[in-house]
Subunit: 401 residues, 2 copies
C-alpha cells in the first residue's frame, strides 16, 4: 500500500501527542429539509472553540455511497485503507465479546437451531432462546475436542455464539452451513483451497459432535456456522506510523479493533470521565490516543434525535478535560454517520475537526455537517486523516528533495 | 474493478426508482469574468425546488483537466470507470448511426479519398463529397464480399462511413491505412497480434476490392480505414448494480451507449415530452431510467449562449412531469461541460443535483456551477454518482460488520 510505504519512509521521531476522539456515528441528518442535524442542534461551546482555532472538513469512510460497518469505519480512521484490509464477520463477533482472537485463529459466528428426528432444520434460530440458555448450551459445546486444533466456544446472546478454531494452516474459504431455509439439513462444510479444506473437515467434526452433545436439548439441539474469518494480517500503527498507540474504549469491539492495529488497550473504565482519567494516567507512555465514545451511535440507531443531541453535548463537556492535557493534535470525528432519522449507519460524509498549532484555520466557527462543508479540509477519504494528524504533529518529513 | 466488486457484494433488492436526467454538456462558462454561466442565467424554478430539498455538487468526468467525449462521459454516469472501459472510435461511430454493433464485431471508421493513376493519394477527404454521394458510394462498397466474415458498410456523412467486420476471432490491433499526407499510397494494414493479423488480411482484401469497385468514380475512388474497435466487454448494469435499466434517448449514439451497458432501449420518440410519456409508460418495468437531453450540448457546440439558456429552461419545464411519477432518486447532471464560449466539450466540472428523501440537504438554493461549489456532494469523480444513487435508493447494504 503506497500510503503506508510513504509513511514508513517519511515518519520522524517526535515527542508530540495526538488525540483521536471518535464519536461513533457522529454524522447525522436534519429531520426535515431546512432543519438542523443532531450535531448542528447541540450546544457545543467547547468543540466550537476548537473549530475556530482549527480546521474542519468532511470525511468519506470508504467511497461515496458506501455505508461502513464499525470495522472499516475505524480502520480508515486508524490510517488503513478499508478496501484493502477486510475484517471478517467471525473475527468482529469475537472482538465484540472481548475474545482475544490471534494470528492462528479462524473465528466463526454460530447459531443455535432446531432439528427434527431426521436432522432437518425446523427453526433456524432455535426459537430465539434466552441468553442464559445460550450460555448454558455453549458450556455443553465447550466439551467438544477436535484433534489438531484448539476449539473455543463463547456465547454472544440469544441464539448467537462464537467458535474459534486455533491451529496451524487454517483457512477461511469455507461455506456457511446454514441452508437459509427450514426443511433442510445443515450443509456440509467444504473448503475452497487446501488449508480451507482442512478447516472444513474440522468444522464438520465439530458440528457432528455438537449434534451429539446437544441431542435432547431441543429447541437448541443443533448448530449452524457462518462468517469464517482468519485473523487479518495488519501491520501495527507502530510499524507503519511509528506511533506508540493507546486505546481508551469502553466497549469490547472497539478495544478489539484497536488491538488489530497493534494499539495497547488501556483499562479505561466504563464512562467518558473514567476514560479521560485513564488518558491522564497513561499520557506520558504513548504518542497516540484513541478515545471511543459510543452513545452518538447508539442513540442514532435508536432513532432518538434528542438523545443523540444530548450525547453530543455530554461529549462537548469533556473536551476541556482533554485539552487540559495539552495535546499537540486533537481530532474529533466519527467512524461513519448514524442519522437518527434513518436509525442506522449511513453513507453520508462525517464531520471532522482537527485542531493543532500548525493547522491552517478556516472560516468555520461552529461544528456541524453544513458548516464543515466550508472547511479547509474539504471532503476527503477518511484514511488520509492519520497522515494529516502526523503532519500536524511534526511527525512527517519532506517527500522528495 | 474494486468498485464493481463492492457493488456486487453490497447491492440489495428494492422497489425504489432512480431517474438519471442527463443534460448533455450541461456545464458552461460565463462570457466574461463576473458574469453568469448558461445554467446560472436560466430561470429554473423547478430545478431550484429540487436543489433546495436535495444535495448538489460538481462531478469530474475522468480526472481534473480531462475533456471527455460522449462515450467516457456517459460511461462514468452509468457507474463505469471511463479509464478502464474504453470504447473505440469505430464502435462509437457505428453506435452514432444506430448500427446494431455486437460482440463479434470489429467496427472501423472509413474515409473516401482520391487517388491518382499510380494509386497515390491526392485528397485525403475526396474533396468532401456530399452526403448523397457518400450514400451512393457506400452502396457500391456493400457489394464487396470477403471470405470468412460478414461485411457491413454504412454511410455517415460527407467523406465518412463505417465498416463493420463480423466474425469469430477478430482483433482490433490494426494500424490506420491513412498515411496522413497526400502523395503516398494508402498503408497496408498489419495486425499486432494473431487475431489482429487475421483482421488485417481481411481489411487489405476489403480495401483492394474497394479500389476495384470505386475505380472510375473519382474523386471518391479509394478508401482509408482507421479507428478499428472491437465491441467492448462490459458487464451490464443488471450484473453489476442489479438494476433493470431503461434508456429513453432520442439520438442513436446515446441509445447505443446505453445498450453497451445492457440497458433496454425504449422507444422514446423525438422530443422531451415524448420521452417523458415513454417514461410514464414503462415506469413499472424498470428500476433505473436514463433520460438523455441533447440540446444543452448542441447549443453549446454552436456557441449560442442564449440558445443554451433557453434549452435549459425547456428542460426545467419538464421536471414537474418527471417528479409527478414520484421517483425515489432524481439526478440531474451532464456528461461533461460544453461552454458556448468555447463551442466545444470541456474539462470543467459538471453541476450535479441529487434529490432523494435520504440525502443530506445542503445550503444551495439554486442550480448553477458556482452555487454547486458549496454543495454537499463536493467535487467528486462522476463514476461515484451511481453508487450514491444506489445508496439514496436504499439499494446498498453495509460494508463490513
Amino acid at each position: 500500500m503506497i500510503m503506508h510505504a510513504l509513511m514508513r519512509e517519511l515518519r520522524e521521531e517526535a515527542t508530540s501527542k495526538i488525540v483521536l476522539l471518535v464519536a461513533d456515528g457522529l454524522g447525522g441528518l436534519p429531520l426535515e429539509p431546512g432543519g438542523k442535524t443532531e450535531l448542528e442542534s447541540a450546544r457545543t461551546a467547547n468543540l466550537d472553540a476548537c473549530v475556530r482555532e482549527g480546521v474542519c472538513g468532511l470525511s468519506i469512510p470508504v467511497f461515496p455511497g458506501i455505508t461502513p460497518g464499525s470495522g472499516p469505519g475505524h480502520l480508515a480512521l486508524f490510517g488503513y485503507d478499508p478496501l484493502h484490509y477486510r475484517i471478517g464477520r467471525g473475527v468482529l463477533e469475537a472482538l465484540g465479546i472481548n475474545f482475544p482472537v490471534g494470528p492462528k485463529d479462524v473465528a466463526v459466528r454460530g447459531n443455535f437451531c432446531t432439528v427434527d428426528d431426521t436432522g432437518l432444520i425446523t427453526d433456524r434460530r432455535a426459537g430465539r432462546p434466552t441468553t442464559e440458555r445460550c450460555v448454558e448450551m455453549c458450556r455443553q459445546l465447550q466439551q467438544i475436542q477436535v484433534p489438531g486444533v484448539e476449539v473455543f466456544v463463547e456465547p454472544v446472546r440469544e441464539h448467537r455464539f462464537v467458535v474459534v478454531f486455533r491451529g496451524d494452516d487454517l483457512g477461511d474459504a469455507v461455506n456457511d452451513t446454514d441452508p437459509q431455509q427450514t426443511g433442510h439439513k445443515p450443509l456440509e462444510a467444504k473448503g475452497a483451497d487446501k488449508i480451507s479444506e482442512r478447516t472444513a473437515r474440522i468444522v464438520n467434526q465439530f458440528v457432528a459432535e455438537a449434534g451429539r452433545v446437544l441431542k435432547g436439548n431441543s429447541p437448541t439441539n443443533m448448530v449452524t456456522l457462518r462468517g469464517y474469518a482468519r485473523y487479518p494480517k495488519i501491520e501495527t500503527m507502530q510499524e507503519v506510523y511509528g506511533l506508540r498507540a493507546a486505546a481508551l474504549a469502553v466497549y469490547p469491539m472497539y478495544k478489539g479493533l484497536a488491538r488489530l492495529v497493534g494499539m495497547d488497550v488501556v483499562d479505561a473504565g466504563s464512562s467518558l470521565d473514567e476514560q479521560i482519567a485513564s488518558l491522564r494516567r497513561v499520557w506520558n507512555d504513548f504518542d497516540f490516543f484513541f478515545l471511543h465514545y459510543k452513545y452518538t451511535d447508539s442513540t442514532g440507531e435508536d432513532g432518538n434525535f434528542q438523545a443523540k443531541v444530548e450525547s453530543i453535548e455530554r461529549l462537548d463537556a469533556a473536551v476541556p478535560n482533554i485539552r487540559a492535557l495539552n495535546p499537540d493534535v486533537l481530532i474529533v470525528t466519527g467512524d461513519h454517520s448514524t442519522p437518527s432519522k434513518l436509525r442506522s449507519h449511513s453513507w453520508h460524509p462525517v464531520p471532522v475537526l482537527l485542531w493543532s498549532k500548525t493547522c491552517r484555520p478556516d472560516p468555520v466557527t461552529e461544528f456541524g455537517e453544513s458548516y464543515c462543508l466550508r472547511g479547509g479540509l474539504g471532503q476527503f477519504q477518511a484514511m488520509y486523516l492519520l497522515p494529516l494528524a502526523m503532519a500536524n504533529a511534526g511527525r512527517l518529513g519532506k517527500f522528495g528533495a
